[in-house]
Symmetry: C2
Subunit: 170 residues, 2 copies
Amino acid sequence: MKWKELEEEPCSMARTIGVIGDRWTLLILRECFLRTRRFEGFQSALGITRHLLAERLKKLVRQGILRRVPYQESPKRHEYILTQKGLDLYPIMMAIVHWGDTHMVDVRGRPLLHQHRNCGKDFDPVMVCSECGEPVLAKEVHTHPGPGASRPLAQKEAPAPKPKARRKAA
Amino acid sequence: MKWKELEEEPCSMARTIGVIGDRWTLLILRECFLRTRRFEGFQSALGITRHLLAERLKKLVRQGILRRVPYQESPKRHEYILTQKGLDLYPIMMAIVHWGDTHMVDVRGRPLLHQHRNCGKDFDPVMVCSECGEPVLAKEVHTHPGPGASRPLAQKEAPAPKPKARRKAA
DNA sequence: GTTTGACAGTTCAAAAAAAGAACTGTAAAT
DNA sequence: ATTTACAGTTCTTTTTTTGAACTGTCAAAC
C-alpha cells in the first residue's frame, strides 16, 4: 500500500492517516499549536532536517491544513498558519497528549498542563457523545457502514471461532 | 532525532508519537478496534508486508498496548488483544476518524457510522473539559509547564515581532 | 564597503526503513 | 501425498530519511 492509495480508501481514518499520520508531521503540528510559525522555528524546535521540513510544510499547505502567509517582502518570507481545517485537528492533538499524560509520564508528572480559560481550571479532555453528552467508551460503540462505504472494510475479520473440528486446543 | 529519543522527551505528545506515531501502527490499531486479532487478519486487511507487521506487533506488545494471548497449542498460535492501555487509545482513534469524516469524505458521505449503545443514536465524538463539561476550543486553552517539565519545550518559539527596525515590511 | 548573521530554502551522497517476494515449519483437511 | 491455514523469517530491491553543505536576499555591525 502506498501513501496515495491510503487517501483514497473508504475509511476516514486511513485518509486522515494519509495526511497527518507520520511522526514529523505530527510534531510539526504540535509546534503549530504552540504558536511556532516560521521555518527556522520549526527546524530548531524539532531538529528535523531542513529537507524534510520543507517537504512536510508543502504537503500540509497542499492539504489546506496550513496557510503560507507572507510577512515581509524581499527577501520573501512566509509564516505557516493553521487554517480552520488545521485548527480542527486540536482534539486529535489533545487526545494524544492526554494518553501520554496517562500512560507515559515519569515520576515527576506531566510536562505540560492545560488550562481552560472558560472555567479557569487545569483540565483533561474528555470525549463525549454528541447526542447524549455522556462519555464514550470503546465497548459501547457499534460501528456500521455509512453511505460512503464501498468495500465494507469493517468487520471483515474475525471469522468467529468456527467450530469445525479445530486443532488440539490450548 | 531518532525514535528512542522521542520517547524520552519531556512532552507527552512526543512520547505518544514515539509509540503509535507511524502510519502502519495506527492502521494496525484501527484493525484492533474493529476486532481483528490475528496475524493473517491484519495482513490481509491492511496489505502490510509480513515483515513490518511482525515488527509492529512486537513493538505494541512491548509497549503494553497489545497482549499476546495463545489460543491453541502446537502449532503455537496467538491472538493480539488490546490491553486497557490500548483501549485507552480509543479517543485518539475517534478523533482521527471524526476529522476525516469532517474534512476528507467524498460526495457519498462517511464510510462508517458510530452508534452509541447508551443512547442508541449515531454520534460524533465531542471533546469537552473535564472540569466544566463545556466543549474545548484550541483558542480557549492556555498551556503552561507542569511538574515534569525539564526543558520548557513550550513557548520556546515566537520571539514576538521584535520591533527593532525591521526590514521593508510587506 | 566588507563581513557577519538571520532566514528560507535546495542539493546530493550515505544510511535507515519499507516493500516485495520467497521460504520455514506445524498440523489439519482432502 | 498434496493442499491449505497460519505465523512468522529471510533476503534483495526500492523508497525515505538523514546529515551536511550550498544558494541567495537583505540588514546590521565593524
